[in-house]
Subunit: 576 residues, 2 copies
């Protein structure tokens, strides 16, 4: 008889604890095998993700290789592309070779979580940083150090201010922990920079609600607010992030905050893999599907005898709720217990035993909002208690260290905490940022795409919106023309030999979306695609004929028209 | 009176020790200021770079932020673009803003080192990994873990073999330390992978000479060779790397080794900044300039009273040599002393004191070629001694830990060594690899650019060479046509809706260079550039007219012609 195969999708708390428990329950007869598919080869310990920003723990201290955690499970490091429920197969993305793979199953556990998705939010996809995965934390850390390095050599006070301003959107635990660690880190290391006044550092937290941490009791949340404000964090309540550009955060009240660091911790969106599945889903706001899979208290998908769903991608009834309207929150403590119960019930299904019902009601919540500051709200066996301050912070560290899977990670994390307490804070900036290739960018009205005198390193094609072309001479600016969708600009500084400078500025007249193409990409393509080369040669010929007076006239060049002088941003910095 | 400014270019051993010594010598009257320009905000401790591959030290343990090392120096994190000797100015690359900056100087120290440059080496730029900077070590580590993850789920034995084969070119210390650490790491962690047999791991070191480590005495070098061979490393002497492709290393004897990991540690090339300078240079092989700046024993550039050059970019006479043909080797111990002497002589120039002459003759050499294995060749005050084995390894650790700048780094490194001795080896794979945009690729004769049935994720344009188009049905292959420079292929699977598969294979008929363009880049550009869109629509119309029989006929489709059947590479892997 062929062995049954249990296939788990997702390597978060839910997936890992399902596999771990299955490994324990498997008998010597080995009557089933376990496989787990995850896009990374490691498990991220979300509660400590924020500590990576400040370097209180090292990049690898709190993440565990899945193979070390799950020694009897086949680990497949691939992205899940789709699930074929009828043929009981999962299709994954290609690896080194551009070929898809398939994995069959007898029992399936859906634990894929949700995704961060900025679709529909103006400019966020292009200009906001995320805070969900390990790579996000590392990117944010390195980006932050880069802004400090740039601020240290920047002579333009406005740009320096933007470089030292950090905006985080979202007042849940994710946003709160993120800005608290950023604040500790930046204020601490800013002192090392000879040309940065730590007082110039500005930290802004945006929260759409009337207070932060809606999931906590009001007194605790207000304590957190007070401490954070005392630590120098501006908390903007009843304010949302309306749009993002490369230079500023646009708030819902119309205010614009110039910043080079904008993090959005918007709540997770449904996972596209789950959206595509023809399985019963829960009902969200407005009576529409919330794209979370409906399961019963055995965590089994309604109407199926071999599919389970747990964690953020499942809608699990709250134990004891009779109204049918309350569901388990998407926390780590729940996901762990859901995984354990799922493993029990799968084994029961294989061996024909009694299935268990989910009965976990949560132990409370705790979180950190600054070094030595935390709040905890405990709920154990009906006994409730609130703790705050240094004691709560110690509890937080003790509890989360204990819960960190893998003894080696516990040793590493403890070592990191000890050494961080007496070693100077590290500010090595690792260049992990990929070289941006062809990307989309968003500009708000009045923003400059580039200034006169900038180096010409990119070509822009307008997708949506309008822009104006402006030249400035002797501090008097003239508008040369307007550009609309489908037109391109910035090619003049690119198609000549060598890197040259922009002869005019381009500014958004209304919200503007552009396709931004690097110089080396466009020149490589133009070299080998004749039609593209001719397009550019045409433009150059036209420009030459116009004697370089205008940059891209859509109509005969309009009469010169005075516009406000551009900022003096090109002053050369000489370190003093 | 304005303060004199000393500007140091480069943050390696030479530059850092110049600044460090200048900081010490500066009096309270603060009669000069110090600035240092480096492309990274940290100093890399080269001797321990290889340990990052295996994770014996953490990524940040041995690199130090420049600002922590040099508290009284203005640190500028920018790339140097050029030096204007006449006006005493240094021009740097843009930061966040696309504007160049200038830095003026009274005294200049050139300590920019050399660069790794694969120009003129077929396919290396595109397909070989480097091993010089911190990012190289980290990339190599993550790439190695990725090959193991892929090997664990790969069912095609040939590809699995290539994934488990690692080739390092260069038998100097850099190549030896690199392959030794790779070997220790891969053989150790391969056991964690359920589907990898550690015996399949193959490690190959290529050395053009008759033995490795030419810089060491023969007996020590031969010891190293023996130990490395015993540890499972194949050493190929008198063999050079002739070319590289994405799938294989091509050796000088014509042999091809299938591999997905090829590292080249070719000797450094002259720095372009130095090449461009009109200063006296040394003479290299063939009587041509070696692009190293000629300095006297005061380390001052010949004919200049305010420019010094040290380290790998300078040609420094060997103290005591009367023939004028011997020069100081480019080692860390020399660079440190050169920096210290330069600082003294600059202060003498400012204050009008006596300049010193360089007299350092080297203390010997040591290096590691496997865990617990090293050789050391000491030369102190005329006393010479050779040490090898475990004792040499302990000496190596003691000496290099002592020399590591920054007490906090010493604590971190020691802690890392201690914890690494009892914690399991870490295999977290961080995805730092940038998404490859538009890149150039090299293929050797007979290699497949893609196979029939692969996913169509890229478009290719031939830069040089020829390729043939082949379809296979019922294990019989037919040649459909040949493609030459300027033609493109692979567009069929890309321009239809959704990701589709290749209907034919394309194989290099002779050495082939292509421009490889990602699907999303070409579709984004085609959407907004009409000429490009029309080019592709033309191709599609032509293909449709030909009823999809051929992929890109350069002539009327030739009569079907049997070719050898393509490999069965598309078997689906189901984990067992």
């Amino acid at each position: 008889m062929a062995k049954k195969r249990v296939l788990i999708l997702g390597g978060g708390f839910g997936g890992v604890y399902t596999a771990k428990t299955l490994e324990k329950l498997r008998s010597d007869r080995d009557e089933f095998e376990i496989a787990l598919i995850n896009k990374d080869n490691y498990f991220v310990y979300q509660p400590m993700l924020a500590e990576i920003i400040s370097g209180h723990v090292g990049v690898f201290d709190t993440v565990s290789p899945l193979r070390s955690l799950l020694r009897k499970t086949d680990i497949v490091v691939r992205e899940v592309e789709s699930i074929d429920l009828k043929n009981k197969k999962v299709i994954t993305s290609p690896g080194f070779k551009p070929v898809r793979s398939e994995y069959s199953y007898d029992y399936l556990v859906l634990a894929v979580g949700n995704v961060t998705d900025f679709r529909g939010l103006t400019g966020l996809t292009q200009h906001a940083l995320r805070f969900k995965y390990l790579s996000d934390a590392l990117t944010l850390r390195n980006h932050t150090i880069r802004t400090l390095e740039e601020a240290a050599v920047e002579s333009n006070p406005k740009l320096k201010e933007a470089l030292l301003t950090f905006v985080v959107a979202g007042g849940g635990w994710s946003g709160v922990e993120c800005i608290a660690e950023l604040n500790d880190f930046v204020r601490h290391v800013a002192r090392k920079y000879r040309n940065i006044d730590p007082k110039m550092v500005r930290m802004v937290l945006l929260q759409s609600d009337t207070r932060i941490l809606r999931e906590m009791e009001e007194t605790l949340a207000l304590t957190a607010q007070e401490v954070m404000q005392k630590n120098g964090i501006e908390i903007r309540l009843e304010t949302r992030l309306a749009a993002a550009t490369g230079d500023e955060a646009v708030l819902s009240n119309g205010e614009r905050i110039p910043t080079k660091t904008l993090v959005s911790t918007v709540p997770g969106n449904p996972n596209p893999i789950i959206e595509a599945l023809d399985l019963p889903k829960g009902i969200g706001r407005g009576g529409k599907s919330n794209h979370r899979i409906k399961v019963n208290l055995e965590l089994q998908v309604e109407g199926s005898d071999h599919i389970w769903a747990i964690g953020d991608c499942a809608q699990i009834p709250e134990p004891g709720d009779t109204t049918g309207t309350k569901f388990c929150p998407p926390t780590a403590q729940h996901a762990v217990r859901e995984g354990e119960l799922t493993a029990h019930n799968i084994v029961a299904a294989i061996r024909g035993g009694q299935k268990k019902q989910f009965g976990f009601k949560g132990l409370g919540q705790m979180g950190v909002f600054g070094h030595h500051s935390a709040v905890a709200q405990m709920n154990m066996g009906g006994f409730k208690m609130n703790v705050k301050g240094y004691l709560a912070w110690l509890m937080w560290r003790a509890v989360y260290l204990m819960k960190l899977p893998g003894w080696d990670r516990q040793v590493r994390t403890m070592t990191a905490w000890v050494t961080a307490s007496f070693l100077p804070t590290d500010t090595v900036q690792l260049n992990v940022q990929p070289q941006a290739g062809i990307v989309q960018e968003h500009y708000e009205q009045g923003q400059y795409v580039f200034n006169q005198g900038d180096l010409g390193d990119r070509l822009f094609i307008i997708i949506k919106g309008k822009a104006e072309v402006i030249t400035t001479e002797n501090r008097i600016s003239k508008k040369l023309g307007e550009l609309a969708a489908g037109q391109f600009f910035g090619e003049m500084a690119m198609l000549r030999e060598g890197m040259s400078t922009r002869m005019a500025a381009v500014r958004a007249v209304e919200p503007l979306d552009v396709l931004s193409v690097p110089r080396q990409d466009i020149t490589a393509l133009a070299e080998y695609i004749p039609a593209l080369r001719e397009t550019f040669q045409d433009v150059i010929r036209r420009r030459d004929a116009e004697n370089l007076q205008t940059l891209h006239p859509v109509a005969p060049a309009p009469a010169p028209m005075p516009v406000r002088a551009v900022d003096e941003e090109d002053t050369i910095y000489i370190p003093r």
